[in-house]
Symmetry: none
Subunit: 500 residues, 2 copies
């Protein structure tokens, strides 16, 4: 074995993994968009073969010795090669610490949990889901102890979605948000109410779709490499590499803004995924590095840009072209106020910019308490409801609109939620930094996203997974991340809207 041959083998391995990944992504995408209803079992057979082959390929003795050889010679490798070997070995080492039978049992548990969670949510019956959720939490703790015996289990969970994140950092982060956002919400509550009735009416799917493409083009998304589909829940996925990305939305025929901001949000994910440097394609370093950074981009486009006054002024005439009848007596300012209406509510995915982080904080606190052993899974609903009352002042009428609303826990995604709030706050700091060299307001007024995208490409997107999230962020910011940029932004924007 020599370095050159080994690197060739590493390339072959990545090409294969990328091809299997491509196949599985497109099967999932088809399933979510157009597959006939009765085809799940047929699909499961193919996915099971493809994921088994992927697992074998990633963890075979040949692969491990290849990676270990390269790791021993890392002083002869490029930065990109070193990082690839590091990430691959890290994954394998962890995977190998989990006994195979327990790993398989956990995968089976998640399949069952997904099914049971759907039914439990339908019936608004937490007890149905409780025993499975107990097992999911317990398994996450057990696996954390296998993989990182010296780490707090919840810190291990957080790290899966944002390398370097700890409870300490989260606590400090959420404390800052809470200190500033809770009083802001109170002041907004006492201010004169605004109105969002212009967003409701009849908006046919074909016109909404036309408007979606208008939004994607305005955002500078290359439609030759990014598709748009329709699914129950909006998402973004890469197919094999950053050269083929798909976003999805869901058209609510009575609501203009739901799909609009889904498209802009997913469009932000897509821009990040699509703009990895070209030489990262078909490697393990292609695409976004972490959920926090990903959300910093999606929520940047959705909120910091998409819900800005300048952007709404630019896009409003195009909205009117798509919905001439519905919007004939509406002004841009009314739309701006409507899409920024602040009101404490029950459902995270429908929450406004101000209250959103509190929804996330509640989930963080609950996960931390369960994993820390101070809260039993069976007591999650009552604690959920207590915190919603305390932070948001709302009464949760049932578990469907409470503890059962999100799919994350049934999918094993414990430790995922904080990245939504972190991403929002990262974005505000990045925007402040961007404004030092880019006239963002002018870009938005003119619907010219090129300078904005160029800044993001140069500072975030092109790196793919080359750097750790914290390292990437600090290099882009030129300083340590500071969440007060976010709270300042919220206070300033909403004080103006609500004349506080």
């Amino acid at each position: 074995m020599n370095i050159t041959e080994s690197l060739e083998k590493l390339n072959d391995l990545q090409a294969k993994l990328s091809a299997y990944g491509h196949a599985m992504s497109i099967i999932y995408y088809d399933a979510a968009t157009v597959a006939p209803r009765g085809t799940a079992q047929n699909r499961a057979r193919a996915l099971s073969v493809l994921s088994e082959e992927t697992y074998k390929l990633s963890t075979s003795e040949e692969t491990v010795s290849l990676l270990e050889y390269l790791d021993e010679h890392r002083n002869e490798l490029s930065e990109k090669e070193t990082r690839t070997v590091y990430l691959a070995l890290k994954d394998i080492k962890e995977m190998k610490k989990i006994p195979m039978d327990e790993y398989i049992a956990y995968q089976e548990l998640l399949v069952e949990a997904d099914d049971v969670w759907h039914r439990a949510k339908e019936q608004s019956n937490f007890n149905l889901f409780c025993p499975l959720l107990e097992k999911i939490f317990a398994t996450n703790v057990k696996f954390a102890k296998y993989c990182a015996p010296d780490m707090e289990p919840y810190n291990y969970c957080l790290n899966k979605y944002e390398t370097g994140l700890t409870m300490e950092k989260c606590d400090e982060f959420f404390a800052t948000l809470k200190e500033r956002i809770v009083p802001l919400i109170k002041r907004i509550g006492n201010a004169e109410k605004t109105d969002d009735s212009c967003l409701f009416g009849q908006f046919d799917e074909a016109s909404q779709e036309k408007f979606s493409y208008e939004l994607m083009r305005t955002m500078g998304i290359d439609l030759d490499h990014c598709g748009l589909g329709t699914t129950e829940h909006p998402f973004t996925t890469s197919i094999g590499s950053h050269h083929d990305v798909r976003i999805t939305t869901n058209y609510d025929p009575s609501n203009l803004s739901y799909s609009m901001f889904s498209v802009i949000h997913e469009g932000g994910h897509a821009l990040y995924d699509m703009n990895s440097a070209d030489d990262l394609a078909y490697t393990l370093l292609d695409g976004g590095v972490s959920m926090g950074i990903h959300e910093s981009q999606s929520r940047f486009y959705e909120n910091l840009l998409g819900r800005s006054e300048e952007f709404i002024n630019y896009i409003f005439p195009k909205m009117q072209e798509c919905f001439p009848e519905q919007l004939k007596n509406v002004t841009a300012d009314e739309v701006y106020k409507a899409i920024n209406l602040v009101t404490p509510s029950l459902i995270r995915t429908e929450a406004d910019e101000v209250t959103y982080c509190l929804h996330v904080m509640i989930r963080y606190e609950l996960e931390k308490a369960v994993i820390g052993g101070t809260l039993a899974v069976k007591d999650l609903p009552s604690e959920w409801n207590r915190l919603y009352k305390e932070y948001l002042g709302v009464d949760v009428p049932d578990d469907k609109r409470g503890v059962l609303q999100d799919s994350h826990w049934s999918g094993g995604g414990i430790g995922y939620f904080p990245s939504y709030a972190l991403g929002s706050a990262y974005g505000a700091h990045l925007l402040a930094k961007m404004k030092e060299t880019v006239d963002v307001e002018k870009c938005l007024r003119e619907g010219n996203f090129a300078p904005i995208n160029e800044w993001n490409r140069e500072h975030i997107w092109k790196y793919g997974c080359l750097k750790e999230p914290a390292e990437l962020l600090e290099a882009a910011l030129g300083e340590k991340f500071d969440p007060t940029y976010y709270t300042d932004y919220l206070e300033k924007k909403y004080s103006r809207i609500y004349s506080l």
Copy 2:
């Protein structure tokens, strides 16, 4: 090695091949329906890995010795197992004769050719596509020589789509058709003209789609396992097994019948594919056995049933429901005459039942001449145009409506076309046989396809690839196939319509 273990290994092998096939089918289906335009190269990389893995799996030493062992013990195997081993070995023996790098290069060529053909057709520019088509023809000849050095290369190509077919049989078959159809076309040309103006107007895509689903339901297609998509060129594909089948159509907003008969045609393919016996799923025996038999089913539903007076009388009120304004002053009889209007034309897929086989015959003669070395690929357009003038009396205005109209050649489907004409003729003979026990006219009048589908299931569909095409056909017919059933059918039907 013992029989039980070997059969288990054979099952594992087929499960893997089915999974890779599933992945490749869904990638192709996505590409044809919704993939962004610029993603062909990205897709080519994944397909190249997947086809390489398929090739390796199918032809590995382990696989060959497994199959040879089972072949030596075929007296201990079931009919199904014996046939599986026979077909797999036959494929491998041929595949092994093709050097792997050439096989992979050919797969990549086809991906590129598909992309280039689309653009060439759009621009009506054969020169753009010509170099790729030359390579496709040359590779087909080269592969034919590798695989069957003692066979005429074009006979080898024909056999890929219809085992046992030869140029000699085709020549005789087409001579019979030509002898009866050319005079029939002449007599129709001299008869009083019928009118198809009721099929033209404005038919919005959403209503056409609604009508498509109505047609699929009427035909007895299980919509839980069969999807409908939109593509430039209608087609049918199975995804992994007969439990997931997709058909596509193309909506011409000015023409009511184009998509209608595409859907019925592809629906016929789908019914055949979806109704393999259940124990054939995920094996090499799943789905249709040959293109000739496949077309016998698709053209059976499209023409023998779909263009019959009884079916049109049944479906017409449903057409009127979908297009109330457009059809308010139209009668079922006008639609029946319109969809059976005979007129020599340019586009095969839009051709009427009578002239259709001449379109096919032209392609057969051109392929035969190119592979026989008497015609250069670059001269295909002029020769195409000459034959259209000679057989159909029409002037071809451009390559888009001429030599570039079909997708078959860009997909490597050389030798495929004759199966369309053969299938049409098989269908007419099968219909005559079916009528001995099924009151087909009554079924069509009532829109009750169940007895028709049941006959086809019992005599054709359920066998999958268990029998050779000729054997299957003769067993269903109870006698040797006779093309004069088809010419008799055409003469009788069109003599009535045109009062000849």
